[in-house]
């Protein structure tokens, strides 16, 4: 299968001089589910941010789909991101609107018509088991439910790539296993899934590929 994402000798150095990634080369095939392991500060988040062009590489080249992230025009970034679903470490839920409206956002920004959007939002909420909470205020959700909301928001526009940065960080192990199962179900229908985690239990129990990072370098 063709490589969906490839890193070629990628380094990322932040303005303060901190080198988050050092000469990373890797290739990810379409339809893979990969866990990125490593301590905090090992470069997992940076690596995921580079794929979504939230950060740009200092050197080396990153190809996502057919596009080179290093040279991608600023105006092309939104269209790259529309093929990616992202689950952020800090969740980024908007508390001024209900669950339904939160999940609706990715469709709204791409200009989906409202009727199709509504059925898609319900489908996404159904997949993560939040359909009965669509009118709920997100502040009333439990930690696990909030994370499910984030997942529904990440998949509502049916992206081919799903990126989750520490999705189980603040959840107890039962919830974490649930969340992992949701990711696996997306992977089974062909979505490429990239998850960063430092959750040992999750890493030990998985049968998927694990890429480990240590101080910005790949550990063989």
């Amino acid at each position: 299968m063709a490589a969906m994402i490839s890193f070629n000798d990628v380094s990322k150095c932040y303005p303060g001089g901190f080198e988050a990634l050092k000469g990373v080369t890797l290739s990810i095939d379409q339809g893979e589910l990969i866990l990125f392991a490593g301590h905090s500060g090992a470069g997992k988040s940076t690596l995921l941010k580079l794929i979504a062009a939230i950060e740009r590489p200092t050197s080396g080249s990153i190809i996502v789909g057919q596009q080179n992230i290093g040279t991608l025009r600023r105006s092309a970034i939104p269209y790259l991101r529309r093929n990616i679903g992202m689950i952020f470490q800090e969740q980024k839920i908007l508390y001024d609107r209900n669950v339904f409206a939160n999940v609706m956002l990715p469709l709204q920004v791409t200009g989906f018509d409202t009727r199709t959007s509504a059925s898609r939002v319900r489908a996404a909420l159904d997949k993560v088991g939040l359909l009965d909470k669509e009118r709920a205020d997100p502040i009333t959700l439990s930690g696990g439910e909030k994370q499910r909301l984030c997942i529904a928001r990440a998949v509502v526009h049916r992206p081919s790539l799903l990126i989750a940065d520490e999705p189980t960080a603040n959840l107890d192990s039962n919830y974490a296993r649930d969340i992992m199962a949701v990711f696996e179900s997306f992977n089974q229908v062909g979505v490429t899934v990239l998850i960063s985690t430092h959750d040992r239990m999750l890493l030990d129990s998985t049968r998927h590929r694990i890429i480990e990072l240590k101080q910005g370098k790949l550990v063989a």
């Binding site: 303005p15 979504a52 939230i54 950060e55 105006s75 939104p78 269209y79 790259l80 991101r81 529309r82 990616i84 992202m86 952020f88 980024k92 908007l94 001024d96 956002l105 990715p106 709204q108 920004v109 791409t110 200009g111 018509d113 928001r153």
Partner: protein, 306 residues
């Protein structure tokens, strides 16, 4: 196309919701817009009315030839022929001393005094309609006629209109200056209003960028917000001025009645009203555009660091 429309419709709805969400702030900035706009617009209305008045005066410029009291009917006949030969003037009218006296008696309420006069002290006169001749031409004509026989005085009564015109020019300059100073102020007001809006919606803006919203999509509701406030401010200013004029006209009609004339102020013409409203909407839009450019760049910069 329908997608484009729905995107704009959606931005408009969001802008209106933003307005409704902060009714007090929105109302205050609309009021600021209307007050700031109504001053130059009000002066403009006064100038337009004065200009109409003076335009009326300069369109019908007149020159009065006052004959020597010793002039006889032969002299009058001579002047009459000369005036008839002049093609540049629009027309003329002879007012004999007898007619002048009768009119004076009728109009000035000095009938008693006049009746007691032993002889008519008034001279014969010609009133010449000059049309819209230039000041230079009038001056040349005045000098020429002054040299005609039996002419005592040649009076031109358009000086005040020309002075008024010059003052109106100064007034127009003042309006332009006020408009640019106040316009800048309004842009700054809107810059700040939008800045606050952006700060309160910062999370939404950041998230929208991350989930693939284009810059113009994120910008659009703020631009609508600015433009709507500008338009609403101008509409309010227009209403303010309109009712002020109605009130002023009531007072003026009383004053004019005492002077036995009619004078009313006209409100802004519909073209000028349209210009006022579009101008204000544009100012709001510019302020919003500027604010968005400035503060979105800041958000980009800060979220890149974190």
């Amino acid at each position: 196309m329908s997608n484009w429309l729905s995107q704009h419709g959606y931005a408009l709805i969001r802008a209106l919701r933003q307005l409704a969400g902060t009714p007090m702030t929105s109302l205050l900035s609309i009021i600021v817009f209307s007050i700031v706009l109504s001053l130059p617009a009000g002066i403009f209305i006064l100038l337009e009315n004065l200009r109409a008045l003076s335009g009326h005066a300069t369109d019908s410029q007149q020159m009065t030839l006052i004959l020597d009291t010793a002039a006889g009917s032969a002299d009058v006949e001579l002047i009459n022929t000369r005036l008839e030969e002049m093609t540049v003037i629009e027309g003329f009218q002879f007012i004999s001393r007898e007619v002048a006296l009768q009119e004076l008696q009728r109009e000035s309420g000095m009938a008693e005094v006049m009746r007691n006069l032993e002889q008519n002290p008034l001279p014969d006169a010609f009133v010449v309609n000059l049309g819209s001749l230039s000041a230079g031409e009038i001056e040349k004509m005045q000098a020429m006629m002054q040299a005609w026989p039996k002419i005592a005085h040649v009076l031109v009564d358009t000086d005040w209109a020309r002075k008024l015109d010059a003052m109106l020019d100064v007034g127009r300059l003042v309006v332009i200056m006020l408009t640019s100073v106040f316009g800048t102020t309004l842009v700054i007001v809107m810059f700040n209003t939008i800045r606050l809006q952006i700060l309160t919606r910062r999370d939404e803006i950041e998230l929208s960028k991350l989930i693939g919203a284009t810059d113009s999509y994120i910008r659009r509701p703020f631009l609508y917000f600015g433009a709507i406030q500008g338009l609403a401010g101008a509409a309010l200013a227009w209403l303010l001025l309109y009712f002020t004029i109605i009130k002023l006209n009531e007072a003026l009609s009383e004053l004019a009645r005492l002077y036995a004339t009619t004078f009313t102020l006209d409100p802004l013409s519909w073209q000028d009203s349209l210009i006022l409203i579009l101008f204000s909407g544009t100012l709001g839009w510019i302020g919003a555009r500027w604010s968005v450019a400035r503060h979105f760049a800041q958000i980009d910069h800060e979220s890149a660091i974190s």
